[in-house]
Symmetry: C2
Subunit: 266 residues, 2 copies
Amino acid sequence: MRREITGFSNPTVKYLRSLREKKHRRREKRFLAEGLRLLTDARESGRLPAMLVMAAGRDPHTLLDALEKDVLAAGGEVIETTPDILTKITGKDNPQAVTGVFREFDTSLGNLDRHAAPIWLVAQALRDPGNLGTMLRTADAVGAGGVILIDDCADPFSVEAVRASMGAIFTKSVAQARWDEFLLWLRSGPGQLVAASLRDAVAYRGADYTAPCFLLVGNESRGLPQEYEDACDLRVTMPMRGRADSLNAAVAAAVLAYEALARLDP
Amino acid sequence: MRREITGFSNPTVKYLRSLREKKHRRREKRFLAEGLRLLTDARESGRLPAMLVMAAGRDPHTLLDALEKDVLAAGGEVIETTPDILTKITGKDNPQAVTGVFREFDTSLGNLDRHAAPIWLVAQALRDPGNLGTMLRTADAVGAGGVILIDDCADPFSVEAVRASMGAIFTKSVAQARWDEFLLWLRSGPGQLVAASLRDAVAYRGADYTAPCFLLVGNESRGLPQEYEDACDLRVTMPMRGRADSLNAAVAAAVLAYEALARLDP
């Protein structure tokens, strides 16, 4: 279905704006992805938005035409609106000329096939959606299976996380679980749990990684709880030659992931 | 000097708020650092704020007392205000209970001593202040000399960059230069320029890094201009096993930096 929206007070505008907030995303089980590049990534990965919102007067683009055609063919909705209203929806002065509304994916741990990849990234209590999206992007780059989010993490379906993932939200697995649930699942099959840690750790370089290898990083300010570290099969540490004793969480995950990749799948 | 501010319309409140904007920072040559942890990092690195702003009714803290004493002894100003006014200054609902105003550092290339460290990070047209701060933090971790910013980059003195640096803004060198100026400076002494690149590149792992090694990453969306890559001594590439062809800029810099560290200063 195709329709136009010209009024700021249209309920669809309100609905789209509400999806910037987590509680509304949870209720609607929908999330936003902004910009033609991200939407094209989604389409090429077989994910189409349930609703596509475009600004009138945009530059024509063959990729956008293809997207529009596919969304309509799949029974989705295509909405044309004014640049002003799109600005209101996205909350940005220079909104990307197109926004999509996607159904949230199932993030149950049970959906993961641990044998699908040699590496998995695991984050505990990660609070920054940019870090989360960056970890998804890194997961794509190293051929990891995806990202497992432990305890209370940022929302992987937030606009910031989706943007930072550079499309990996559509191609990589995302799972959410409490620690106990994760540990139970992990120990029900093969899997090495490796913590980025300072306590009782070996050098990350040349450590004995084995697949499927689950690389665990902790919260941005507190790191990992000691009992979580104790439950790991291996604790590895990176050189810290300066004043600080930690790296950005997404950076630590990436440095570890590239080292594990070199060992497990060179 | 010690004084209290109780009114929202006080000119100092306006001044402090203005420092969140780049044009005002440039004019005043001052920047903000928020939170006791960051201010303590600064103090331990020998950098004291010219002005220290604290909320009344805050929890007492020996580190804050020490900071206050040092600022007053150095002829700086200590301002006590209400939590509401501090919220207005920081633009955050839960402001950290203390904020400092620092003099901007000189970021001329001529100040750098290239022999001071085996590794330097270089970013071209880096737009995200969080990425910039994260690169500074990584520079600290790998014992790099600092970060050199080429062309139009995010402001290293923005609140976001300072925060993401986790104090490294106070301990690492930061320089800003146009590309031509940088190249002239670089070639006036020893130095290997290494680009993270996809064109005509060798594997980053085990590549022939030599100190002082300048690791160059490009803009978040466009990467490096080809002529910049052509001017490099070495182009290295990281495995990309997924759909995307690039990493987050701060992640790419970190993965490269840890590899160079392992080769140059194991």
